[in-house]
Amino acid sequence: MMSSDLLRWIPLIPLLASAINLFFGRAIGKRPAGALASAAVGASFALAFYVFWQLPASGVMRDLVYTWIQSGSFQINLSFQVDALTAVMLLIVTGIGLLIHIYSLGYMAHDADMVRFFVYLNLFIFFMLVLVMGDNLLLLFVGWEGVGLCSYLLIGFWYHDPNNAIAGNKAFIVNRIGDLGFILGIFILVAELARQGVWTLDFAELAKQVKLLSPATITLVTFLLFIGATGKSAQLPLFVWLPDAMAGPTPVSALIHAATMVTAGVYMTARLHFLFALAPATLALIAVVGAATAFFAATIALTQNDIKKVLAYSTVSQLGYMFLAVGMGAFGAAIFHVFTHAFFKACLFLGSGSVIHALGGEQDMRKMGGLKSHMPRTYWTYVVATLAIAGAPFTAGFFSKDLILWQTFSHGAIALWGVGLVTAGMTAFYMFRQLFMVFHGECRADEHAKAHLHESPAVMTWPLMILAAGSIFTGWLGAPEYLWGSRWDHWLEPIFGKVAHHGAVSTELLVTGLTLAVVAAGIYLAYLMYGKPGAQPASVPSGLLHKISLNKYYVDEIYDFALVRPFTLVAKFFASIVDPWVIDGAVNGVAATTRGLSTIWRGLQSGNVQHYAAMFVTGALALLAYYLGQLS
């Protein structure tokens, strides 16, 4: 193990920049403040890269800052660690984060509150870094809640629209519901180990002590932690906040969906893989939830008309794939998909931001079309990223998604594999539907928007191009054995152990071929319906299924009806009936009774000395009798 004081600066620099901008941002000015924020993330990225480079082959670097909380035998340190897994996450968070920061310099240039935006953005990076660098579960939870706070602030960034603020609230509260599971999981872990004389939440120590826990305890703990993950990583049934999180400025969506926040749940399960691996029941549940979420979200994405909503549901769906991998115990594959997804999803979101920017805020794809010639750089990067998410051969998404599907298949989970396969086809369909609706065909924008159509400035298109390159080449790190083999698995081997290879190469090729066929079918169908000359992309198909999908299965409405309203009613009942009438009523009842009794009492206080004397004697006799009784 290596110790290094360097580590703390990786999260600290963005925090400092955030603080400087918070207090002096107004004085510094908009552009310099933005530049400072970006430079800070750049510095973190450089440090992260250095640490990545220095990291010993199977080693861990640690940086103990100080004891955070100590109570009795319970002790939690503010302490950071970097191992192979964290190093990967660090590069994703700071690398993609840096590109998003740079992009935002252009995107937010005309916003009056640009300084505030960068304060939040830096804070977001800070908490995400704490999340991936913390060497214990509680520090991870700090980052976990911290990104929740930042998403709350950023989703509601344009607060004057009440809908944005409501979306921010929803994000935070839904996340908190998941967090309840998370924190209860932590409590069981601490309490069970403490009962056996071990007090720890350190990952390294937990991995050693895990044998003290009974299988039932492990299942319960992992189940509760997974509830936390369904909140943060937007899985069934807690995914509802993520699509609404679109309300924030588009770079924020890219940050939330690609580099940070939603990947936290996957990271947490991978970090605690030694615990999850011992809980087959939880893993089975995770696999089912993952596959179901992937499918369910994809069916919603098929019909959405808001450019960002399509991407939002595609994120939910892709996260489902990641959890499917986790459920198979293929943690390396899950993190690999986190990695590749970060590139193409960031590219897509920033690309959609570029489109929205060019159209003066328009997000409805029915009012787009034909943008190809107006914004070639945005278009071509979007094409690459779309190919990647659809899983076209030799793009990043091809390698990572294929790996997950193959892992599922080779584990014998044929039904889940089938769901994943169909979802891959739907993904290809809805993404190409989007590509055709936005960039191909006739331009359906109004005249005013058409007149202002422009390609975005270089500060926005350069990040797009870098991300597009990443959307292809990052996948090559994790090529299957029949090609040139996986550097990825090798890198993560110290964490997850050697990846076992089941099944024959011929089967693997067959499965891949099948996936590609389904993907091709999806793309072709999208072309027929939306891309072919003469297609009517803006026409509204009818039919019940379409309506259900367009309205997202009415999940929000169902939650509102089945949960929010009854709950509010109960609260109202307590607030307007129980508290004022029952509880306070009892008090007032006592008061009334007292008043009644005091009338009698007043009668006794007659002022007649003889009465008093008689009562005094009676009282004294009674007391005497009492004590005599006690003595005997």
Binding site: Y66, W68, Q70, S71, Y159, H160, P162, R176, D579, I583
Partner: protein
């Protein structure tokens, strides 16, 4: 352990506000500026003096320190007995810290300024005395003395229903404390019977082992008095009325300090004096605490008046504090003590902030506001920090306390704790609803369009609180480590009793692990 001394530093601390109040008597009532200055200086002097006491305080010891013992009524064994330990020191600091800020926040008081300030200073002495007294009768005297200034503060400078609220406040408190007085006298009599020494010295009374049946009634008498003060569900209904009617500074002190006297009373008196009864009755206390957490939060959710919302949130938060005490282990009790400070800071700050917009708009109805960020960004940003402190966001003070409380409680009663933990969700719901409706959205109400942001006086009030909210979240050790020995000693007292059931264990030998560099 307790070397008898005469009057000393602690007495001076109690005297400083009284001296300030006496000085005010000689000032002409017209010169409100001079009056304010004197009162502020007195409270600031008390704060500085308490810092000096803190400096002298040995954080490594769990014993009573700076003990002052003077015979008061020797015939009946009543002494003037003060002392401080790791439990009371931070509550004393909280009191002296909040008082100058509360006075600064009273700038808008124009009516009978002189009396107002005198009452505030006397209130400070009352509260400090209650935290420092180690003689039960002396404690009782301070406990009752506090009532008088608070009664007048609500009844004279309060809102429209101030008389009702003030009376309710006093009657509730009196109802509890009379029984406590009877119990105190009975306890001392029993002690005299068994040891031939008539004393109200709590350290000596700790040694008395009464039969459980007798402890039972005595505990109930003490507990009722403290439960009303906390307030524990279902004794809370005086609180919203008192808060809504009280002037801003009154609310700050009421929520910030006065409620803590209830939980402090449990920790200092009710639990260690009657440990067997306390342990036997613990399931009921736990139930009431958890019900209070959820109930308070649900009722808070439906409030239309911001101040009432904060008042009910106090019911919920104090439920957490009680739950931690009931855990009777290091994490629970230490967390609970820490949470007393956190609640004092964050709820104090909330009442201050509410007072600041009330001064501007003369309303506290949530529906009257909306979109304030545009007009008052500074106010909004500070309210944001305090809101998240109250929600218990990690990194701010509230999380440390809540986490330790829940952890401690979970080790004793997992099911109830799971219910209590749902209060963490509810807390986010009502606070964020309030914040959204007040701060976010369009700035539609024309009344709000000319609101001024915080002025420098208001910033001076809030900055130290915000600073502590962050500090205590990021670096709680300086506080926790000084509390630990005293909490340990106290837990020993409660649990070392022979009748203590095996189910409740503590790690009294909580030696800190020494890993790291």
């Amino acid at each position: 352990m307790m070397s008898a001394q005469g009057f000393g530093d602690l007495t001076l601390l109690l005297a400083i506000p009284v001296i300030g109040a006496a000085l005010l008597l000689f000032l002409p009532r017209r010169q409100s500026c001079a009056l304010f200055t004197v009162a502020l200086l007195a409270s600031a002097a008390a704060f500085l003096w308490s810092l000096k006491i803190f400096n002298r305080f040995d954080g490594g010891s769990g014993a009573m320190q700076l003990v002052e013992r003077v015979a008061w009524m020797p015939a009946v064994g009543i002494q003037y007995l003060l002392g401080i330990d790791g439990i009371s020191i931070f509550l004393v600091l909280l009191t002296t810290f909040l008082m100058p800020l509360a006075l600064l926040a009273s700038w808008s008081v124009r009516d009978k300024v002189k009396e107002y300030l005198i009452f505030m200073l006397l209130l400070e002495t009352g509260m400090l005395g209650a935290f420092l007294a180690l003689d039960l009768v002396l404690f009782y005297v301070f406990w009752e003395v506090m009532l008088v200034p608070m009664y007048f503060l609500i009844g004279v400078w309060g809102g429209t229903r101030r008389i009702y609220a003030a009376l309710k406040f006093v009657l509730f408190t009196m109802a509890g404390s009379l029984l406590m007085l009877v119990a105190i006298i009975y306890l001392a009599t029993r002690h005299a019977q068994m040891t031939q020494a008539l004393t109200f010295d709590v350290m000596q009374l700790y040694e008395l082992h009464l039969p459980v049946e007798q402890q039972f009634w005595l505990f109930l008498a003490f507990a009722l008095s403290f439960a009303i003060k906390v307030p524990l569900f279902p004794f809370h209904t005086w609180l919203p009325d008192a808060h809504v009617e009280a002037p801003t500074a009154g609310s700050v002190i009421l929520a910030g300090v006065l409620l803590k006297l209830g939980t402090y009373g449990f920790l200092r008196f009710a639990l260690p004096l009657f440990p067997d009864a306390a342990i036997a009755l613990m399931p009921y206390l736990i139930a009431l605490s958890v019900i209070g957490i959820v109930y308070g939060a649900l009722v808070a959710m439906m409030q239309t008046d911001i101040k009432k919302l904060v008042a009910y949130s106090s019911v919920s938060h104090l439920g957490f504090v009680m739950l931690g005490l009931c855990a009777l282990n290091m994490q629970g009790v230490q967390g609970s003590l820490y949470q007393m400070l956190n609640h004092g800071l964050s709820t104090g700050a909330l009442f201050l902030l509410v007072g600041m917009i009330y001064d501007r708009r003369h309303t506290r109805l949530i529906s009257e506001f909306g979109g304030l960020w545009k007009q008052m960004p500074l106010f909004s940003a500070l309210l944001l920090v305090v809101t998240f402190s109250s929600i218990g966001l990690p990194g701010l003070n509230g999380f440390v306390g809540e986490f330790l409380i829940l952890l401690g409680a979970f080790r004793v009663t997992p099911a109830w704790t799971a219910v209590a933990a749902s209060g963490v969700i509810l807390g986010a719901v009502y606070m964020l609803w309030m914040f959204r409706r007040v701060i976010f959205g369009p700035l539609n109400n024309p009344e709000n369009q000319k609101l001024q942001d915080l002025n420098s006086r208001e910033l001076i009030i809030l900055t130290p609180i915000i600073f502590l909210i962050v500090l205590m979240g990021v670096y709680p050790q300086p506080f926790l480590s000084r509390m630990q020995p005293a909490v340990e000693a106290n837990l020993k007292r409660i649990l070392a009793m022979p009748a203590a059931p095996a189910a409740v264990q503590i790690e009294v030998s909580g030696e800190p692990k020494n890993d790291g560099r």
